[in-house]
Symmetry: C2
Subunit: 171 residues, 2 copies
DNA sequence: AATTTTAGTCAGGGGGACCTGATTAAAATG
DNA sequence: CATTTTAATCAGGTCCCCCTGACTAAAATT
């Protein structure tokens, strides 16, 4: 039976981490030139990530996979097109479909989102890194089951697009 | 010189954590009744947190402390008033000022934002909790210096409103 | 061939985080 | 007392995420 105080400490630190890291890269972005925002796993970022894992999906497929309305998907895709991160092209096999593909820039951007090692990790020792990885693995595992409980249908797609993507990348 | 692979592993897990936890509470919220959104350390959430640490500030003070335009602050405050989380009241000492105070509900909400121990922490052992706390302390420390470098003026206010708040709470 | 299903699009909307500009009311100050 | 500073407000805007409704074009079905 783990100690409640220890849990609280960790919880506090996690919240702090959330706030501090949020604020830190808010400030970082304000000072860099004409860059765009974090993106993360929302809206346009979601699309990018999904494509990075399997390129050339149709809008409909993207929408289903990401649990979004097709119209929202279309909106995000269009925004990404304007930023030259993806391209739209009519499927010749089924001319109703629009195939979305990452541009080179899009691929780079998606990779950068993911592959970048934050500077603060460089300060940790090997042991700490291992510990952190182990702990996060456990936590993420737990969260996956939460997602699965809330929406079993979505859980699969989600795990496919996100977790697998990251797993291949790093482990 | 820490191992780059280990850094990458940890980085991947952190990103995964970010995405997974985001998605998890997105789903969680969709299923609960008429609740409001995460709030966090942004917009309305920022205000709430600041007030939880020192109630009865004026809008101007809030704005300065949180690095927001006074108009933005006013907007968030008004939204919070509509949700019955804070009250506005003219200062009798200086009738230009509007004093913002948390309602009971607001206080509860702010506390809930902070005090809740996420379920996933319950799965960790005491040792893991200690490790996590230690690691996050280190990381947060690093991020504070980043913030300080980016905006020394803001750093103080920030640390005051956030870090101290959490520290009193937990440690 | 006629109908239905499917993939997209346009239009419009709701809520959120922020900001600048212009204006008012109340203090502070010369 | 007149002017300036200060705290707020209104108005209007930008961009983001995300959804419903209405409608078209192209496949699939009957």
């Amino acid at each position: 039976m783990p100690n409640l105080d220890k849990q609280k400490n960790a919880a506090g630190k996690l919240i702090e981490f959330d706030m501090v890291s949020h604020t830190a890269d808010e400030l970082a972005h304000r000072h860099s030139a004409k860059d765009d925002h974090p993106l993360r796993f929302q809206g346009q970022g979601k699309i990018l990530l999904a494509l990075a894992q399997s390129d050339g999906l149709s809008q409909k497929e993207l929408a289903t996979r990401l649990n979004l309305a097709v119209q929202s998907t279309a909106e995000f895709v269009n925004k990404l097109v304007k930023k030259d991160l993806v391209t739209k092209e009519k499927s010749s096999a089924d001319r109703r479909k629009t195939i979305i593909r990452l541009t080179d820039l899009g691929r780079e951007t998606a990779a950068a989102e993911t592959a970048k090692v934050p500077a603060y990790l460089e300060e940790l020792t090997d042991t700490e890194l291992d510990q952190l990885t182990a702990i996060l693995t456990k936590i993420n595992h737990h969260l996956y089951s939460d997602i699965d409980q809330a929406s079993p249908t979505y859980a699969n797609k989600f795990q496919e697009t996100v977790a697998d993507h990251l797993r291949d990348w790093f482990m």
